[in-house]
Subunit: 143 residues, 2 copies
DNA sequence: TGATAATGTTTCGAATTCGAAATATAATTA
DNA sequence: TAATTATATTTCGAATTCGAAACATTATCA
């Protein structure tokens, strides 16, 4: 193939998916970045800020802002690490956990209902192709 | 499949691709939105603002800003339509066309070199899956 | 140990993005 | 044709995002 159609299609799919998720999440007064952080902590018990940055796709300067906002909303706790005083441990507060217990199953169901247009095999192939592209980006970077 | 891994992978692939493109484009003092508009005009001769909005994935309020910036940089011309005075016709200026004549082939080559980790068949399947997802979002919206 | 480099995080100012309301014009309809 | 509705675009203020520099602490190394 010679053209860039794949990129256009990738961008469109991403964008409509993102908008879909955004609308789902906005109802709870969260934006996508905030939800990403909560979701990461929901699955991981606790993470340092760096740990979250590595999971969620947000640069560190933005992450400070997002975390501050989640602390203000009382969905997460931010505790200075005793081992490494540069570092902070993040975890869900009780409110945060309650929220996610409510939101997450619905959120998951909504997204699955979109993804279920693909049969098992198509979804696996999609994943593989996207992972390949991700890796290819790294290889092709800086030349 | 029951989990959301596909979404995670989609988001990661999109993000690394976007970052890759951004770095490529930043060298020319453009951001991704601006480049998207230029690219659309490069292929289409001319478009109304609404026409561009439908091509590029940017809401109208942001588009005004992007277009204003491209006019300032003297890469596009914005001319009020004589048929419909609400509307404006956008087209590349000579500078804009020169720029894209320079940038676009390299840009295209860079992206193709990433995509070329996929063989023809994989790329076609990827496109089909992503298009399916895009359509599925529309179907599953608002329920 | 003291100096230097590396790591984790925040601050800053600027750029970008957004949704909602406003504006201007055109199309429709009564 | 006047009134109403629809369409194209901009304006506004606020939220978000960013990169670069600063800061604090820890690790390394001479």
């Amino acid at each position: 193939m010679k053209d860039l159609k794949t990129i256009t299609i990738l961008f469109r799919a991403y964008n409509s998916m993102e908008k879909f998720i955004k609308e789902d999440i906005m109802k709870y007064g969260l934006n996508v970045s905030e939800f990403g952080v909560l979701e990461a902590l929901y699955h991981k018990k606790e993470l340092s800020i760096k740990g979250v940055i590595d999971k969620v796709l947000v640069p560190n300067s933005s992450m400070s802002y997002v975390i501050e906002s989640l602390v203000k909303k009382n969905y997460i706790l931010k505790i200075q690490s005793k081992i490494d005083k540069r570092s902070y441990v993040l975890k869900l507060s009780d409110d945060g956990r309650d929220l996610l217990d409510n939101i997450f199953p619905i959120h998951k169901k909504n997204i699955r209902s979109v993804l279920n247009v693909l049969d098992e095999n198509e979804e696996v192939l999609l994943q593989k192709a996207l992972i390949k592209i991700g890796k290819s980006v790294i290889i092709n970077k800086k030349d």
